[in-house]
Subunit: 459 residues, 2 copies
């Protein structure tokens, strides 16, 4: 009997296990998954909403418990089991039961690496103090929630103004804390161009969240082992709780130690079928590299939606089928309070880094016909290759109903459309849903005009 | 000096005029537009919302008044002027001033036909009675509104259950009338497949609108010239007001009389640059044929968004530029009460008529993560070509935030994607915006599985 061992019991690992099982029954393929945390198949993206009280129970974030995998699919999912070593020659792993401390070896024929990523923790004085939290696994969410419940925390500092940073800042604000975001760059939300990011920063400020930019954290002050303040090069901020939003790093140490190739982006190198660099070894999710279809290079992106898709692809292949993962566009969406933001493809700086000569246009429009009640602002920015007019990236900032429209632009980008093609596309129109020229189409029109003007300037 | 005459002062005509003007100044091209109605550039699609009281003033539906065209763009737009004849040899039209009754001839070098469409009025006894309204131009909206205001109308009958029929039924219900929709077919909303249309019919019934299907109107009873009842083959429905929602017919009589080619779909035949069959004659909007990119034939579709795009293309070409209109997909969106519906491409029956062997899948999902507050149901149906897995059409029925997602599927369809390609596309994900597998992706997955199963059944 063949044996599949899965390291990591969240989206990528359990998707792979499920798909493999669908194609190969339990009397043909044994499947064991090891997860060092307490949970399998959960939504880490939901943590800020749990902390903020929008989602009432942490259990709501769990898609499937270990028992469900066992009972429904004969997949053995063991939580609180940490894999500490992979021996590719002997086809075995070493795993420690974190509850009992016992160590044992488990053999495999196929190995699925779904080790995820870990929040970046700055190596600064005091950074290991209690009250400083990363946000990655459900236990992080529980820990933050319990810390808030137990203490009379008043001041929160969020270090880093990316998606998790801003979502956690909003959550903490909703819990009644005074919240300050400290951002090293000139602006938070740096996956957007500065002009679009500024709109998000403005929305946060309006909520009463203080945003400090161009400011580096230098150390954490502690009292009795617990954080008491965040020290930047400019000032000392009192802090009862600190949340790190500095991004995550792929967990690749196990893979590296085992001799698997780590790509230049820092993730485990995989091909389109999610095969790592050794026979019968697969990787997917936050720990694995992804091909960026517009930048034309490999990147790491920690996002549940990729993890699910890649896990599915790996599982189909492990199960004897054929599937490929065609890469990512860097699409993302988020919201703070009533302000929504979406992005796909390359921002201006990324387009330049990727060697494209680009131009940008920004268009203000509305989500419904201007005269229809409930219409709200939507600002759409397109980044377009000069001469060809090919779409390179897009960003949307707006109110309710705005951000998810980024998917139209992601689909256009996926198909390598030019803005000239895009401006005539047959998108839906009715007054409750868009103006007669949808915001996407207006932006494409304006972008095409800019491309033509740029061409005639050159001639 | 060259002269452009535009027949019809709404979306297609005035877009063409504006675009032509942008490329050719007033001392080079004279532009005169004749509109038989009272208004230029208005949103006919907004009429149901005005009647229902959602939009407060009819003026809100007017994008630009004649004076604005004159003052800003030196475009002479004359309302209440009806063109009665086109003489292509002598390059002149005959136009009657509907206020004064004076008739005169106006010469042209270029002629733009934007004559629109007229609601279908059944030739039945009593069908010319007062109180029976089509819904096409702003004056129709005003007439209905005034009729409701002036009378103590209690019973309304809507004949035909398409978009306008259902939108008007809702509007009349919101005004407090008892509303009955009479539909000849087995179900209203026949642009959707029966299973999806049934959901819309159910939502209407829940609102208290009565829907009679498989029922033909045979005559209208009148009292003192005013409608008093609608007689079907089954019953007599008392009616103080009747709204016709039987679709529209392109206004092509002028064009036909002038000897221009009318296409098999009943619209004026045009090429991709919007040129009609005579030199220097252009047509766009509801009166002109459009190429349906999936059905691969010419069709007529009365929709402001096409009129605007086609008018723009014609105007660029008239102005000496180069632009083409690449066709339509049959995308549409609407809502009744809180139920939204969107569609694109071919429904099952249309796919069969177009010669495709297709299969369909339907998926129930949610607009946000299942655990996120405000998540709502979204049902997505895909119609897919057997063997190739090529997307042929899509339909969505759901609640707030559901229908506009049809645009992602329209963009995929525009690019002739297969569901196999579609299921891995990088759409945006965050809990407030979608489950980790977006509804579109789940539907694509299920459709691809159905294609594969169908293939293995064949082998």
């Amino acid at each position: 009997m063949e044996r599949l061992v899965v390291i990591g019991g969240d989206a990528a690992g359990m998707s792979a296990a499920s798909q493999a099982r669908r194609r190969r029954p339990a009397d043909e393929l044994q499947i064991a998954a090891f997860e060092r945390g307490r949970y399998t198949s959960y939504s880490a993206c939901g943590i800020p909403y749990f902390v903020g009280g929008v989602v009432k129970s942490l259990d709501d974030l769990i898609a499937r418990a270990p028992e469900e995998f066992r009972d429904r699919q004969s997949i053995e999912a063991r939580t609180r089991h940490e894999v500490t070593d992979i021996d590719l020659d002997k086809r075995a792993i070493e795993v420690i039961d974190l509850e009992s401390g016992t160590v044992r070896r488990e053999s495999f024929d196929q190995l699925m690496l779904a080790t995820g990523a870990t929040p970046v923790r700055p190596r600064l004085p005091g950074s290991d103090a209690e009250g400083i939290f990363g946000v990655q696994v459900l236990d992080d969410g529980r820990a933050i929630f319990e810390a808030l419940d137990a203490s009379e925390a008043k001041n929160a500092v969020v270090v880093g103004g990316g998606y998790i940073g801003l979502e956690m800042a909003e959550a903490l604000k909703m819990r009644g804390l005074d919240v300050t975001v400290v951002e090293l760059a000139a602006q938070p939300m740096s996956t957007l161009d500065p002009d679009m990011g500024a709109l998000v920063a403005g929305a946060m400020t309006e909520m009463g969240i203080e945003i400090l930019t161009d400011e580096a954290v230098e150390s954490f002050e502690t009292a009795k082992g617990h954080v008491s303040a965040v020290v930047t090069q400019v000032r000392t901020l009192p802090a009862d709780i600190v949340v790190l939003g500095l991004g995550v790093r792929p967990n690749v140490e196990l893979a590296r130690k085992a001799g698997l190739t780590i790509g230049p982006s820092g993730g485990i190198a995989v091909d389109r079928r999610m095969r790592a660099s050794a026979d019968g070894v697969w990787a997917a999710g936050d720990c694995a590299e992804k091909y960026h279809r517009v930048a034309r290079k490999h990147v790491t992106v920690a996002l549940g939606t990729h993890a699910n898709k890649e896990g599915r692809v790996a599982g189909i292949n492990i199960g004897g089928g054929y599937a490929t993962f065609p890469g990512v566009l860097g699409t993302a969406v988020s919201k703070v309070c009533a302000t929504e933001m979406g992005r796909t493809g390359l921002k201006e700086l990324e387009a330049a880094e990727a060697g494209f000569e680009s131009l940008s246009v920004t268009v203000d429009s509305t989500t419904r016909a201007g005269y229809y009640p409930g219409t709200s602002a939507i600002k759409t920015k397109l980044i377009v290759e000069k001469r060809s007019g090919k779409l390179l990236g897009a960003q949307i900032v707006g109110r309710e109903g705005a951000a998810k429209r980024i998917d139209v632009l992601a689909t256009a980008l996926w198909n390598e459309m030019t803005v000239d093609e895009l401006l005539n596309i047959d998108l839906s129109y009715a007054p409750p849903f868009s103006p007669v020229w949808d915001a996407v189409l207006i932006a494409a029109r304006k972008a095409w005009q800019a491309v033509e003007e740029d061409l005639s300037d050159c001639s």
